[in-house]
């Protein structure tokens, strides 16, 4: 399934996010979650509740709740450098778990970088299997190059890197990485990272995001091994 169909499928299987705020400030926040208004509900919280909070539901099923303040700092994260892998805050991880398979329509690079760290961190801990990373721009890859080489060199991970064909020249040395090239309209538009779990389906995870305007992405992350496999199948 191509990435654009995959994004539509995730949008259809949506969760309900209910934002309770003491004021009407939730409206602005609601726009960050989905293309469809029904996806996010904003409600006035009872006067007695001193701060805003967010409830995530899947139909009748309660999935989790968190303080609105925590969600806001999650959406504007402090990105840990790769050398601090494993230092990830447990509160951040809980929110990350809660919001998987959720289509966000207004992600920026900072958020995607933080999400990518989560996936790289997991691949690094498992230490085997295949990690596939797509870079929209050559310079984005250059910034991560050493970290990815380190990942491939110090573990049994098979690391595949996807770059735009027009940005790779003949003397490009991928080192321990496996290089794939693709046309600009596929890799150039999408930020993706897919880890197959290294034989353990519970460890599979992935991120697929489309840049629809400069530094504005819509996308999702997932722990669903089927969704990760479907996304992987669409790669060239």
């Amino acid at each position: 399934m191509p990435f654009d169909s995959l994004l539509e499928a995730v949008a259809d299987a949506r969760k309900t996010i209910i934002i309770y705020t003491p004021t009407d400030a939730g409206t602005e926040l609601a726009e960050r979650f989905s293309t469809r208004n029904a996806f996010v509900l904003v409600r006035q919280s009872p006067a007695a509740v001193p701060a805003g909070f967010v409830v995530v539901r899947d139909g009748d099923e309660f999935l989790g709740a968190l303080a609105l303040e925590d969600l806001l700092s999650f959406l504007a994260p402090t990105v840990h450098p790769p050398w601090e892998l494993g230092e990830t805050d447990s509160g951040y991880r809980a929110i990350f778990d809660l919001l998987d398979d959720t289509l966000f329509v207004s992600l920026d690079r900072r958020q995607l970088l933080a999400t990518s760290r989560e996936i790289e961190d997991r691949a690094w801990r498992v230490g085997r299997g295949t990690l596939r990373a797509g870079f929209q721009r050559r310079r984005a890859f250059e910034r991560q190059r050493e970290m990815y080489r380190e990942l491939a060199a110090t573990t049994d991970l098979d690391v595949h890197v996807y770059l735009r064909a027009d940005t790779v020249d003949d003397d490009f040395d991928p080192g321990p990485l496996t290089l794939h090239t693709a046309p600009a309209d596929t890799v150039g538009r999408y930020w993706f990272l897919l880890f197959d779990g290294g034989g353990d389906a519970l460890q599979a995870c992935g991120l697929v995001a489309e840049e629809y305007s400069p530094d504005r992405y819509r996308g999702f992350w997932t722990y669903d091994p089927t969704l990760v496999a479907t996304a992987t199948d669409s790669l060239p």
């Binding site: 006067a47 509740v49 001193p50 909070f53 309660f62 999935l63 989790g64 709740a65 968190l66």
Partner: protein, 138 residues
């Protein structure tokens, strides 16, 4: 020595309070209702949302807790709902403060007498003051 009497007078207007046909349980029952933090929260929420499903009431109580303790998941939610359905709501129903029908999964706040509503709001404000002073001394 005579005590200072120029502090805020919480009971101003007390002479104009009327019970009418509204619910006004005896003091021992009212204070028992307010004796648990969770029941206080239920009553405070109901003052704003007099008709609410048990599921949404549980959402709000769990959500309120996350603003203090951090994210919570389905296990905590299930625990809170069990306490509401099997302990707190039946007790408040027995006192006549709420109408709770387990089969309909709905809670309705009865029409409360002014002093009862004041007592609930006082309990809510008092908790907030204590929370604030806890944070200052941490």
């Amino acid at each position: 020595m005579e005590r200072e009497r120029d502090g805020p007078d919480l009971l101003s207007g007390v002479d104009s309070w009327e019970l009418g046909d509204d619910v006004a349980p005896p003091p021992s029952q009212l204070f028992k209702a307010l004796a648990g933090t969770r029941r206080c929260h239920v009553l405070s929420i109901l003052l704003d949302r007099p008709n609410i499903s048990v599921d949404e009431l549980t959402d709000i109580i769990v959500g309120w807790q996350t603003t203090i303790d951090g994210p919570s998941g389905p296990d905590e939610w299930a625990q809170v709902k069990i306490e509401l359905v099997h302990a707190h709501l039946p007790l408040l129903d027995d006192m006549g403060l709420v109408a709770f029908d387990d089969r309909e999964s709905e809670v309705h706040l009865e029409s409360l007498a002014d002093p009862v509503e004041h007592a609930i709001r006082f309990a809510e404000q008092y908790e907030r003051v204590l929370d604030r002073s806890d944070r200052q001394t941490e």
